[in-house]
């Protein structure tokens, strides 16, 4: 089964970059534009991996992560932070909520691929 990746970010541009980064891989990409929509999308889509921004309206990334970890159906989903906020306090909060990785923006698409390969079964399209 090809993995499903959910990106939760308030920037359309980030959604497009993620989609483009993975277009040559056998996977499904879904996206949500803020934290609250992200939790809904995670419940609906049951992704294998979530990329999560911090600076977002409605719920920020840390609040979103708390919701995800507190919702039994999706609590165990691997989450990788994809954010420009990487100070000690943010790092500590994300680590305490068991993130699988932390990519600091600005980022190169290759960083997304490398980390994703270490977390889900990502194969090039046949």
């Amino acid at each position: 089964m090809s993995p499903k990746i959910l990106t939760i970010d308030d920037s359309k541009m980030v959604h497009l970059i993620v989609a483009k980064t993975f277009e040559t891989f056998d996977c499904q990409i879904v996206s949500a534009a803020d934290g609250a929509l992200g939790v809904e999308a995670a419940l609906r889509e049951k992704p294998d991996l979530i990329f999560l921004d911090i600076t977002m309206p409605v719920l920020n990334g840390i609040q979103t992560l708390e919701k995800i970890r507190g919702t039994p159906e999706i609590a165990g989903t691997p989450v990788v932070m994809l954010t420009a906020e990487s100070d000690a306090q943010r790092l500590g909060a994300a680590d305490a909520l068991k993130v699988s990785g932390y990519i600091s923006k600005p980022f190169k698409p290759a960083q997304l691929v490398e980390l994703t390969k270490s977390l889900v079964n990502l194969q090039a399209k046949a």
């Binding site: 308030d10 483009k20 977002m56 906020e85 000690a88 790092l91 680590d95 600091s104 600005p106």
Partner: protein, 232 residues
């Protein structure tokens, strides 16, 4: 190793600029008592030294050493210089990594054109606003840089607001992270975007403003930083 350094290693992130953290602590600890140490730290960083001397000389055009420049400028201006240096690093890194577009610093101003203006607010121990401006006509160039020429949509201007918002989010997010790690805890708003002509930020009597102008691939990029001084 302290817990934060451990996390930085665990997630393979770039280590924090140590001098910035130290400078933040010294500035908060009292400028007068720590002026010598502040000067020594600035002196150890060539770019920062050049910037501090340049700003001090703008006020009084004589040759001077870092120590004199630090004393002449005082806490507010030194904070502003350090902050704008951090912001400059953040914007340069963001453009070169995300857009593969190196920014060249420019002193001169450019003629006014219609611009996409993004603004973001930070508030807490450090407060102020960061503005990022690009010409409204540069949508195709910018989106092409992000996604490749073949992915530029028919109306790139429509997406330019989102692009400027995210670039500003990244620049200000890096800046905010540095401020927090220097002991100046603050929160960041989400970016807001408008399209307008002839922007000049509102600067309160106790606030400071610094304009930074860049050129990349013939395209002007402006960054404005407005800060409220840190009280000791």
């Amino acid at each position: 190793m302290n817990p934060t350094d451990k996390l930085i290693q665990k997630f393979q992130l770039a280590p924090l600029p140590g001098n910035v953290q130290r400078l933040g602590k010294l500035i908060q600890g009292g400028f007068a008592q720590n002026a010598d140490e502040i000067a020594a730290l600035i002196k150890a960083d060539a770019a920062l030294s050049a910037q501090v001397i340049a700003v001090a000389q703008r006020k009084r055009n004589v040759e001077m050493e870092v120590e004199q420049a630090v004393m002449r400028l005082g806490v507010t201006a030194i904070t502003l210089v350090v902050m704008s240096e951090l912001l400059m690093n953040a914007v340069t890194k963001t453009f070169s990594t995300m857009l593969n577009a190196p920014l060249e610093k420019r002193e001169e101003l450019f003629e006014h054109v219609e611009e996409i203006l993004g603004s973001i607010r930070f508030s807490g121990r450090a407060s102020g606003q960061v503005f990022l401006r690009v010409p409204a006509t540069c949508g195709a160039w910018m989106i092409g840089r992000f996604l490749g020429e073949e992915s530029v949509p028919e109306d790139p201007t429509e997406m330019l607001g989102d692009v400027v918002g995210e670039l500003l989010n990244i620049v200000a997010g890096n800046f905010k992270s540095n401020l927090c790690d220097a002991g100046l805890n603050c929160d960041l708003s989400v970016p807001s975007i408008v399209r307008r002509m002839g922007f000049k930020p509102e600067v309160g009597e106790d606030q400071h403003h610094q304009l930074m102008a860049f050129l990349t691939d013939g395209l002007p990029v402006f960054l404005d930083l407005v800060i409220t001084p840190v009280s000791a």
